[in-house]
């Protein structure tokens, strides 16, 4: 029997480390013949901690939401080939609640994540690892690789959607004594964790993709620029680079060819704008990460002024699969203009949040209600936010939009790198617009005036509206400023910063009006427009709210109706959460 434990960062945060130790102790104390393995993100983060068991008679069952008490009964039942199914979430052999979830996904870039031990190069090699690199070095010219990647229709997964093959061709065409490849792992969008899942779960696939790119464009040195907030990804990447170097996949004369390659990790120091490629290059050079005017594009003059190819983690992760299976096989997934699959980080008010991968062209509705299992607590859907701070909020009536770069762009949002945050009726759209603008305003590098000051003015207006001090002209001013920022900013950060505001004005104008004219926040989020009161008909006098109130604003005796002193109330909502009788109401 074999047991795999999902030990990616969210699994660990949910207690998977203790589950792993518990299983290990149980195996050794009972002297059981069980192989215990580690893997990374299985993707079903909503059910962490997760283990996957393969029984001696070849049955495969994934268990979720485990506690220490589950370990012994589950292991014992599986050893008797009669597995307990109460906590089983997924299985090809038994009827489990998440079987459809798995079936509606297509895993190409996440092919190994959650299946193999990311710290074992041998497990990567057993799963076709470094075979594509060998094929490229032994059988293909750079022109042939470029043609294959172009034919596959792969487009940059960082969000811009530029043809990867074409990008490589530009870097290949520019002759130079020195060229670089860079992997952008500075996944800064709040609400996005695809690249983290790939780096933690399958770091070798990204390294192999980079090696193939380096051979193709003629580079001999590369950098992975990784966010410092992802310590586990950095650790797995470091181990993977060390192991690949030891086995000769990185270094001199790889596979006996003339191709030599050296790979470094640069840990980011915390600046969202460094996701922009010219800023990222500046940061590797040791400078403040501020974007530069393009052209010249990095393919001509990038790192240290040399031709440089920069792709995102997910883009590189697709490359080995495409080389091994061929462009036409990749084209079988997705649509005419957007081939292949896309990884998404599903989060927010959705039942099955986690890391998923679906073919391009899948309608948003299918992603949210199919793979995502629908809304948490069955609350009404309000919007889905795509593309992080550069993206926008897509409302219910556009849920049949297929996920493709162009169709998403038409809604006013962007595909982005793959963050998908679902919002329900408890989310205030003005608050969300303000949240993203606050983020981009903080992260603006300050180079372009409108991005630096315009976003600040927009934020002030939004703050005013959420305090109930807005006027109707504010909506027009926001719109005007937004377009000025878009027109006058150098890089993607500024050009897209107003998107969350523009899309919320476009689709949720009535909420702006409710805040401005009626001085009400329909979602009950903006505290200045909100009052908590106690419904005397429902209050049973259990004192739960009074005990939770941090401001001592609630008075009342046991078994008597309680009252909130509005002058003392800080509107933290603790009483609302504490009441089990729905007696605390937001008005």
């Amino acid at each position: 029997m074999e047991i795999k434990v999902g030990l990616a960062s969210c699994g660990l945060a949910a207690g998977a480390g203790a589950i792993y130790d518990g299983i290990k102790d149980y195996i050794s104390s009972k002297g059981l013949d069980i192989e215990l393995k580690k893997t990374a993100c299985i993707g079903m983060c909503f059910a962490e901690p997760i283990i996957e068991i393969t029984t001696d008679d070849g049955k495969n069952i994934t268990y979720g939401r485990l506690t220490d008490a589950d370990i012994a009964p589950i292991i014992d039942s599986c050893l008797q080939n009669n597995p307990l199914l109460e906590k089983a979430i997924l299985s090809p052999d038994y009827d489990c609640p998440e079987n459809d979830n798995k079936a509606s996904q297509t895993r190409i870039v996440l092919r190994n994540a959650g299946r193999i031990d990311p710290e074992s190069i041998d497990e990567y090699l057993e799963n076709d690892g470094y075979k594509s690199l060998e094929k490229v070095l032994k059988e293909m010219t750079p022109e042939e690789v470029i043609k294959e990647i172009k034919d596959s229709g792969l487009r940059g997964r960082g969000g811009a959607g530029f043809s990867t093959g074409l990008k490589w061709q530009f870097a290949w065409q520019n002759e130079s004594d020195k060229k670089y490849v860079i992997c952008n792992a500075d996944e800064g969008d709040p609400g996005a964790f695809m690249d983290k899942g790939i780096l933690e779960g399958d770091p070798h696939s990204v390294i192999e993709g980079m090696l193939i790119c380096a051979y193709t464009i003629g580079a001999d040195e590369g950098y992975v620029y990784c966010r410092a907030e992802y310590p586990l990804a950095v650790r797995h990447l470091k181990k993977a680079i060390a192991d690949a170097t030891e086995r000769g996949y990185i270094g001199d004369n790889i596979f006996g060819s003339d191709f030599c390659f050296d790979l470094h990790i640069k840990e980011g120091a915390g600046a969202f704008v460094c996701g922009e490629e010219t800023a990222l290059i500046g940061s590797i050079e040791g400078k403040r990460g501020m974007p530069n005017l393009r052209p010249p594009f990095p393919a001509k003059s990038g790192l240290w002024g040399k031709p440089t190819n920069n792709n995102n983690v997910e883009t590189y992760g697709n490359i080995p699969w495409i080389i091994l299976h061929g462009a036409s096989e990749y084209r079988k997934y997705g649509t005419e203009t957007c081939a292949g699959t896309k990884a998404f980080a599903l989060a927010g008010k959705i039942r099955n949040s986690g890391l998923i991968e679906v073919p391009m062209g899948t309608p948003l509705r299918k992603v949210i209600y199919g793979v995502g299992g629908g809304m948490k607590f069955d609350k009404p859907f309000k919007a889905v936010q795509l593309g992080g701070p550069s993206g926008g909020c897509i409302p219910e009536h556009l849920l049949d939009t297929p996920v493709e770069y162009e169709t998403i762009l038409k809604t006013g949002a962007i595909m982005g790198s793959g963050g998908m945050v679902v919002m329900d009726s408890d989310t205030c759209m003005i608050d969300i617009a303000r949240f993203f603008l606050n983020f981009t305003q903080n992260e603006s590098c300050g180079k372009c005036t409108f991005c630096r000051i315009g976003t600040k003015r927009m934020l002030e207006i939004l703050n005013r509206i959420t305090r109930g001090e807005g006027v109707l002209e504010d909506i027009d001013t926001l719109d005007k400023l937004a377009h000025q920022i878009i027109d006058t900013s150098l890089c993607g950060l500024g050009k897209s910063a107003p998107n969350p505001v523009l899309t919320t004005i476009k689709y949720f104008r009535e909420e702006y009006i409710a805040h401005i004219v009626d001085k009400k926040c329909p979602a009950g989020v903006c505290t200045a427009l909100l009052k908590y009161t106690i419904d005397a008909g429902k209050c049973v006098g259990c004192t739960a709210c009074a005990r939770k109130c941090p401001a001592d604003a609630i008075t009342g005796k046991v078994k008597q109706v309680h009252v909130i002193d509005q002058d003392k109330c800080i509107k933290c909502g603790a009483c609302y959460e504490a009441c089990r009788f729905d007696a605390v109401v937001k008005v």
Partner: protein, 152 residues
Amino acid sequence: MENKNEIDAIITKYKGKKGATIPLLQDLQSIEGFLSREIMQYASDQTGIKIADMYGVATFYSMFRLKPQGRHIIKVCKGTACHVSGAETIFHAIQSHLGLTDLEDTTDDGKYTVMEVACLGCCSLAPVMMIDEETHGKLTPDSVGKILDRYE
């Protein structure tokens, strides 16, 4: 200067290397947990990197700190999923548990420094915080106090 040998070793490692400013400052910061003016001036004198450039880099990136910080760093996630799940309330609960005002980020006993971060990528467990390198999820205003009390 304290830790001179350690500082010199770091400077030797990066001196003359291109693009060294950020990793140099990252390593120097790891000694005392922050970059003092004294340490930056010394590193500047030794490496020839202008102190203005160092200061420019140190103030640009959120990871660099110019004043002493607590033994434990609490990073409160303010990502989208955490925001819609009540990150603001969690932040206030941490502040009130540690007795910090909006203008302070480090406790008087030097035990904790609290900061907001954009996204820790554990959105399924929102709201989330990271203490040192350990991530804690599904936080409630009640649970944060219990978690904080576990740290020495």
